[in-house]
Point group: C2
């Protein structure tokens, strides 16, 4: 029996990754974070996605990254931009994927699991440095030095199966695997009912993805 | 003005590192974690150490690693061993230093700080994989791929100045720098008054260190 830890945000990408891991035969332990993001509707979405796609368990860990601030996703005084910007946008949360992967690694080690899945994507993405293939490769290398399992010769693998896919192809793959994207919330500033703004970077990439894939966009916009 | 983020546990090693960073001219931002450790007296110790050694601020972040379990330091059902063991002991907390360094990295990036100090030591230590020089080097490499600062060419440095020192030499260096070790708590199972068991691996290494350094051990044993 192959087991995996799957990072699950409640958004479109990580839902697709969970479906891919399940379709690859993995028993999936889903992991989400209450990290101080402005809305927690995405955590409710993650719960629904975990159930719908047959994760064997779903853990939500609290780690308040708003205590260190520095991002429009965690700082109530910084507005989410509604126009594309040059360079790395202020929605970047410093070291977020490093923190999430680190905790996933700890949980994987406790579970005796060697496979960790993450939904990073470096094609239709916001330019976050911790979504790039070289970051994932460096984390995998670190994981095998950081842990008892690594020392004892059991290798961790960090799977980022969306890495080279366009948003449209991610959606096409998810549809094939039966992902119900109506359950997912990608918007950086969704309201309490999970309705999307339609204007932030995440909404923009998602909307274009559905259009390019020729799939009806199930997102509820407000 | 040089600034640094310093990981501070409340124990002997990280107190010495804070003193070394201060003596090297760094303005120090101390970071501790309420990570689900069995006693929080070490966090009170960290507060006192941060103040005594002139940290400019001290942040304590909550991240409940007991939710993933797997260590005698976080699992109430696992006893702290009182005899040395072969291999990596059960007091090892899976991926702890990876998680702590990841959060330190995020805070450093928000502060615009490039120097991170950690009190790992690979001489008189418990054999934890995430205390070894190759782990620290791999994390530094990761840090420079994971972040906006790294992308923009500002390099992070992970300082582990105790790496190659014996416990006795760590203590000698700390005494030179005016560290009051009576403020520190190293014991894995200290009581609410901060009194040490004298029997766990951490107590054993600390006690031997004071003896070898020829310094009176200020630890209160119960």
């Amino acid at each position: 029996m192959k087991n995996a830890v799957v990072l699950l945000s409640g958004g479109l990408d990580s839902a697709t990754v969970l479906a891919m891991a399940r379709s690859g035969g993995y028993v999936c332990h889903a992991l989400s974070f209450a990290y101080g993001q402005k809305h927690d509707i995405e955590l409710k979405a993650a719960e629904q996605v975990a159930r719908a796609l047959g994760a064997v368990e779903h853990k939500i860990l609290a780690l308040d990254l708003s205590a260190i601030g520095g991002s429009a996703l965690t700082d109530l005084h910084m507005a989410v931009p509604e126009q594309p910007s040059e360079g790395i946008p202020i929605t970047y949360v410093p070291a977020r994927n490093t923190v999430f992967l680190a905790v996933a690694l700890g949980w994987a080690e406790v579970l005796g699991v060697q496979d960790i899945f993450i939904g990073v994507n470096a094609v239709d993405y916001s330019g976050y440095p911790d979504c790039r293939p070289e970051f994932i490769a460096a984390f995998e290398r670190l994981a095998n030095l950081a842990t008892r399992a690594g020392v004892e010769g059991r290798r961790f693998r960090i799977h980022a199966p969306l890495q080279a896919l366009s948003k449209a192809n991610i959606i096409r793959r998810g549809i094939e695997l039966g992902v119900d994207y109506a359950l997912t919330v990608s918007c950086y500033q969704a309201d309490n009912a999970g309705r999307a703004c339609g204007r932030c970077d995440s909404c923009r990439l998602r909307r274009l993805g559905f259009a390019e894939a020729g799939v009806t966009d199930p997102t509820q916009y407000r």
